[in-house]
Amino acid sequence: MSDADRRSRSGNAANGFGYEEALLFELSREDRVGYSLPELDVPAVSPTDVLPEGSVREDLAELPELSEVDVIRHFTRLSTWNAAVDLGLYPLGSCTMKYNPKLNERVAHLAGFSAAHPRQPAALLQGFLHLCYELARHLAEVSGMDRVTLQPAAGAQGELAGIMMIRAYHEHRRDHRTKVMIPDTAHGTNPATATLNGYSVVEVPSNDAGILEPAAVDAAMTEDVAGIMVTNPNTLGLFEENMAAIAEIIHAKGGLVYGDGANLNAVLGIARPGDLGIDVMHFNLHKTFSTPHGGGGPGSGPVGIKNLLAKHLPVPVVQKSSGPDGDAYVLDSDFPLSIGRLHGNFGNAGMFVRAYAYLRSLGPDGLRRCADMAVLNANYVLARLKDSGAYKIPFDRTVMHECIVSDGNFSEQGVSTLDIAKRLIDYGYHPPTTYFPLIVPGALMIEPTESESLEGLDRFIEALLAIADEVHEDPELVRTAPHHTRRSRLDETRAARKPVLRWQPNAAE
């Protein structure tokens, strides 16, 4: 088959003009500049006269020299190569790549927020602190927790903060525990968090239906275990139905329950982790609360706690003090048992504004509708794929916000999940999460989110079905995909084994 045939056969991905783009360093021309400064109207000062010895470099940094238009074209061109939520469905399972409403951006760009400096005195940051206080209150309400800290910069740091508080709680009671229990469906960050806090990990197997069994938790629970880390819904997209019973087992032996909020989107307004026995959890504002995710981040990972952990909260804590002149918001660092500061300033503050705008614009009914639609969309994708018989369905039951299919039907053709994922790029889709969770061989984990219309979901499903047909008719086409991109298969193995981390002159040959 010719390349032209391959292109005409299928797929709708073709973005931007067909140019290549060099690195900024390669585009550099000596003495080209992108700025013009007015003439100096103060006496010139040489840096060597005013800076300490050794702090002025002798050679010039080899930064690229470019004009403004060079730089604008460079980044604009690269941006047209991107997959993005603003371009189409981005079904990356467990990442909740929902649409980021533009209203959030508008609000975050208000000068009172965007031009504020984090080191302004609290008296001059009252609007921002008020927003922090209210956002924390709303997150607590949505999750059934008592208090929320906004400091952690992303989900993984939220986990770290949560387990640090669990550790501080036990240590303060002179109860030295050494282990953290984690299900086999967990995100890799959970065991990493436990290890960073000095705990060893006890893995609990999920049952044949993909969820945790109270008996399995009971068998693994000892008075050495500081707590359990549970993601609910779990990474198979399944609701941990035994959550309350599991929490009881853990609490009975003095442990605490950590809730990984990665998949909170599925239960917004329906179930509250705090009501199910969770003592501490993190939120991903960049997943559930529509702040940008991925390259456009940064993330933000607030942590909610029950009052038994309040004295260990990271400082400073934003508190409201009511007086005769009305409410004021203050930064309170008087927490002697605090785990300390987790961020130089307030956290990723711009994300607080966006998440607050999202929460307030949706309201309670809107939040619940998010969860309803996210769950409906995932089940629609699963039902159509199941009815087609084209893909293997490892867990055939109603799911929450994401569903899993596998490459199990294609082993005879020698086509793997990686190949399906690469071929989806030709159809104009960012691939779903692949090979995760680890307990499903060849998993493709699809999370459509509530942002997609029925037509959008149908187009994606049709693409998956067309690829399944291709696997049988022309497996080579799938094994060598993508065909519509500027680069096809990058050598990921060599990139990992012999990484080149930095551009250097004359290194190309």
């Binding site: 890799g188 082993s411 990686l418 692949t434 680890l438 061989p441 990921e492 193995t493 990992a496 084994r497």
Partner: protein, 132 residues
């Protein structure tokens, strides 16, 4: 799965390690099934020599282009040797998992140190069960 090699003379763990018993020592590596599932291996984290282990303790980690997986102790004992060659050439595990791609040698402790291991036929069944 039919192409997966499972040498008859070795013992296996359900976590996809193989074990070759030589008197009081056991040579440990990962199976062909495991290396095939992992794909190209890019990094192997080996245990410290002298580390005492219970069965299923985490020995180290194997990173591939797909995932990072823990390596578990298939037997109880003490680490006496590790395959340093894998630090620079992790690809050996893909190329020769039962030979030059061995991971470590454990000196076994206790009478039931091998208790959790299964033979080649049982391991083949274990692989087939997961392929369904």
């Amino acid at each position: 799965m039919s192409s997966t090699q499972i040498p008859k003379e070795l013992l296996y763990s359900r976590e996809d390690e193989w074990a070759r018993v030589e008197d009081h020592r056991v040579v440990v590596g990962i199976t062909d099934y495991a290396q095939d599932q992992l794909g190209d291996i890019v990094f192997v984290e080996l245990p410290e020599i002298g580390k005492p282990l219970e069965i299923r303790d985490v020995l180290g980690a194997i990173e591939s282009v797909k995932a990072v997986s823990d390596l578990y102790a298939p037997v109880a004992g003490t680490i006496v040797e590790v395959n340093r060659q894998l630090e620079d050439k992790p690809e050996i595990v893909n190329e020769d998992c039962y030979g030059d791609g061995w991971m470590c040698v454990i000196e076994i402790a206790g009478d039931d140190a091998l208790a959790d291991l299964i033979d080649a036929a049982a391991y083949a069944q274990h692989c087939a069960d997961r392929a369904d």
